[in-house]
Structures are given as C-alpha cells and as structure tokens.
C-alpha cells in the first residue's frame, strides 16, 4: 500500500460512494476530482453535469470554472443552466456535490455570510450560486469539506442551502421534494451520514488512524455514531495512480493540505 495524503484519501473515499450509471452534478475542485476518479475506476458509466450547462464531457483536464469550456469538451450536450437545474428539479439527478463555509448537524450549509449583521457581514462569501437549487432538487447531497470547529458549527450564521433544516419532516413541510437531503459528508477525518430517525449527523467511518474523540473535538455540535463504526477503506494503488497521473497531474487539488 502506497503512502497517501488525507486529501487523496478523502477523494478516493468520495469516489467510491458514486454508483455506476447515475448522474452527478459537480463543482470544481475535490468533487470534480472524485467524480473523474470514479469514472476511471468503479463507475465508468457515471455522467457528469455542470450547472452552467455542460453534460457528459470527456474532461481533458480539471475545469477551473463550472462554466468553462472543459465542462463540455467533447460533451454530449452544451445547454443552458436552466436545463440542468430543471433536469434536477424533475427528479432525474441522483447526486450533487456541495461545499460551504459552515455546516450544522442537519447538514444545512452556509456559503453566504459570517457575522451577525447581514447587511455588514464580517465576511461576505459568494452566496448560494447553484447550491441552494441543487441541494433542493437532487436526490442525495454529498459534501466534501475539511473537518474543523470553524466549519462544523452548532448554529449557522446563514442557512444558504437546505440540509434537513430543523429536523425530520422539515424539508417536506417547507415544500422541498420529498425523499431528498444530505447523504454523506466526506472530510479529512471521517465519513459521516445522517441518522434516519433524527436526521442528525452521525459518524459512519473513521479514516485510518483517526479516533472518534478526534472527530468530535473538531466538531462544534454533538455527533451521533452509527454502530458499528467502520474504518474507511484505504486508497488502492491503482486508484492513487489514476488520481495522481490522470485526474490531477498538476496536483491542483491533491497538492492542497
């Protein structure tokens, strides 16, 4: 077994979650790397979509923007943002990968503002982009994020994108499509899921060498645990080779800490 970084482990773990023959709407960065890796390993028939309109590209390199020309390079279709979003809204899209500045125990995401005063925030982040739409429409939300207490917080300063809102049934009551919501959160420490009954975040798998205490200490709310907690499967040599040589040869993503 080769040496690998936490980021490589995270990407490999995320890639394994994607089934073959499904559609995933991805952003740039780690989600895109995970999806490309899945295509080249366990899910050759995975279709990538990008919110600006790219469908099914044969990605020559990692795109820099979710709207750049690589997102439809030798693609099956170059269409509109509305077409992508509406394909999600009518229920055809299985997975979306999201991120954010903050996440809470229900998987709600903040990418808008940090600080008390909305009009004069401490930090103005970009806002929803397509995240609120994708997080509302797609069947399963995947989140890739570094794991620390600044990100995993008790209370979001701003709910940009809906997770399970304030608990069981809340999405449905609000009018969001039933049966949707956060599925897995993949961090540099663990893979987390959501408890069926309470919709609260739970530790499902610890990365090799990581303890439950360590994960809890990096989290600003109480984590549930799924029993038994497994150990995250380590990257295989072939997976690492493809990730390093084919997916991210410039070490654009995997070069990050």
């Amino acid at each position: 077994m080769s040496d690998y970084t936490r980021m490589e482990l995270t990407i490999c773990a995320a890639a394994r979650l994607l089934e073959d023959g499904v559609i995933v709407v991805v952003g740039t960065g780690a989600p895109c790397a995970a999806s490309m890796l899945a295509q080249k390993t366990t899910a050759p028939n995975l279709t990538l979509m990008f919110e600006a309109g790219g469908v099914g590209p044969q990605l020559p390199r990692m795109p820099i923007s979710v709207g750049d020309s690589r997102t439809f390079y030798r693609g099956l279709m170059a269409t509109s943002m509305a077409d992508i979003m509406e394909t999600c809204q009518r229920g055809l899209v299985d997975y979306t990968f999201l991120g954010g500045a903050q996440i809470d125990q229900y998987g709600n995401l903040n990418s808008t503002t940090v600080g008390e005063d909305y009009q004069r925030p401490r930090v103005r982040f970009p806002g929803s982009g397509g995240a609120n739409d994708l997080g509302s429409f797609c069947w399963r939300i995947l989140v890739i994020t570094p794991h620390d207490r600044r990100r995993f917080v008790e209370r979001l300063d701003f709910i940009t994108t809906p997770g399970f809102l304030d608990g069981p049934g809340a999405r449905e009551t609000a009018g969001l499509p039933p049966g949707t919501g956060p599925f897995k959160v993949i961090t540099d420490l663990a893979i987390l899921g959501f408890d069926d009954a309470s919709k609260r975040m739970q530790v499902e798998s610890l990365h090799p060498g990581v303890t439950l205490d360590e994960v809890q200490n990096c989290t600003g709310f109480e984590l549930l645990t799924k029993s038994p907690i497994t150990v995250t499967v380590e990257p295989e040599d072939e997976q690492l080779r493809i990730l390093r040589d084919e997916v991210d040869p410039d070490r654009y993503i995997i070069g990050r800490s």
Binding site: G53, F72, N132, T173, A174, G175
Partner: protein, 334 residues
Amino acid sequence: MSAENLQQCGSGPLFMNPDSDHARQTFRAKSKALAEKVMSVPEAVDQFVSDGDYLGSGGFGGNRIATALLHEIVRQQKQDLSLAGHTTTHDFQILCAGNETGRGQLLRRVDIAYIVGLEARGLSPHARRVCESGQVEFCEWSNYTLALRFQAAAMGVPYLPVRSLAGTDTFRKSAARRVVCPFTGQELIAVPALWPDLALIHVHESDAFGNCRIRGTSVADWCLARAAKKLIISCERLVSNDEIRRDPTATIIPYYCVDAVCEVPYGSYPGNMPYEYYSDEDHLRQWLQAESDPETHRQFLDDCIFGVSDFTEYLERCGGKQRLEQLREQELHP
C-alpha cells in the same frame, strides 16, 4: 414547523417592477425594424447605459463575458447601477472597480446568486470590501431562481414557481414569496419576473442587425436577451446576414431583442471563450493579488481600465497577440 407557520415572504428588497403590463409597454415601443446597429463600444455604452440602470451580465462570471463593455462602463464612471449577480465572478470584480476607489459609487443594488468569489480561484478582496461596506443593498437568490426571474420576464409573465429556496435564509433574505399550486396543493416558491434595463452579452457571431450565435453553453443568456429592455451585444466576429440565413437553427438571439452590436475580438478576455481562447489564469491571479493592497489595486486599475483608451490597448498591455495565441492554443488543445 407546520405548513401554517411557514414564512410567506422573503424580506429582501424587490428592486424592479415585476408587472408584465409595464414591461409590455416598453417592448411595444421598441423598434422592430431590421436595421443596422453596429457601433463602437464607447458609443454603445454612452448611448445605452444610463446612471441608475439595472444591468444583467451575460455568460458565466469568467466565461463568455462582455469584458470590453464592462470596462467601458467603469471607464465612463456610470453611477448607481443595479446588477443581477448570477455567478458574477470576474465581471463582478470589474464593476466593483467603480466602488470604493474614489470615483463615486457604480454599484448600488445587487440581486445576489453568486458574487465576490472567483470560484476555485478564491474571494476577491476588493469585492469583499465593497460588499462588506454596508453601502450596497442586497437581495439573495440562487443561480436558478435568478435565471428563472429572467425566464419569467422572457415569457412575459409576472412570476414563475420553483421548488428551491424553501426553508432557508436565502429565501428569508430574498424577495420571493410562497404560493400554493392550484391543482395539487403543493407548497411552492414564486419568484418575480425581472426585466433588466440593460443586458450585456458576448457572443461568437452576430450580423449587423443583431442576429446572434453562441457555441457552447448558453447559461441564462437565451432568457436574459429576451428579458432585457435594452441589449448590447459584443461579438468575436461580425458575419453577414446571408451567413445567418444559411442556418437559422443556429440563431439564439434574434435582432429584435438587440439595440447595439459591437465587434470585439477577444472580447471575453481574460475570461474563457469556448472554442476560441481559454481564460488567462495568470492575469486573473495578478488581479486578485493586486486587490490585497488598495494602493497596488489603484495602480492596477489605472493600468488596465482607467489609464487605457480602449479594450485593444488593454489587450496589448496584457501580452497582446502572443499571449492571446497561447490562450487560443490552450483552448483548442487542452
């Protein structure tokens, strides 16, 4: 939370009138004659951009954006503009050059779906200064719901229903409202139509009348072109009307939506233009870095916008033909 307790309205400001009869009067008054509309970028901006206008920016932030028109708006120091910020990245960064730089206040109101950031490239320090100043009024949306507001406008109806936004602070800080489906009783979100005063769209090809073609993703431009009360097109190439008529299936924007056509090769630089040239990541990185220090930023803006006479001079300063050929090569052989 029960259905009765759902908040019915976002508390965000509605910057534009969503009344479709109001918009109909404007469209009725527009000329529908097939007339030549070719003019220079300074002429188009001088003639069609007024202080206080609400702008829509085509493309996707750093892809197929109307950079030359955006620079000219900043150079002419237009004031008190509103903006539809649907994944506005480098375009937003350009417009922010008119705020907090001692030249009045270019941006006054922003409907936000995505601003401040440049995707994977990071946040713009200057855009943060502008948006954290408290001087710009905001309303929150998402990429789809803001595009859907253009779609309602393009369709000529005052609102459209959608199933996102619900339950979030994005809704609470938006100007959206709740509606109930009259057939199914489903709880939905209604977004109001948005007819921008002006849109700027960069395309691959246009004829002199404004019949346009785009290759690659259209993002929200099909709707934006139809929603806009005034529309300035910049294009990589002017083509003949005969060429347009050779393949009418390829026309994505018809002439009757268009007020001005400006021929601007490399007009999306430093943004990507599909099948033409890739984004200039070095230049975008320099821009972000320059923003870290206000004095460096001032100098950078003088070098790129205020101190250059036109877009051609900007391209020259950024490396000119040699650099542009590299970007073309990157695009065609990624």
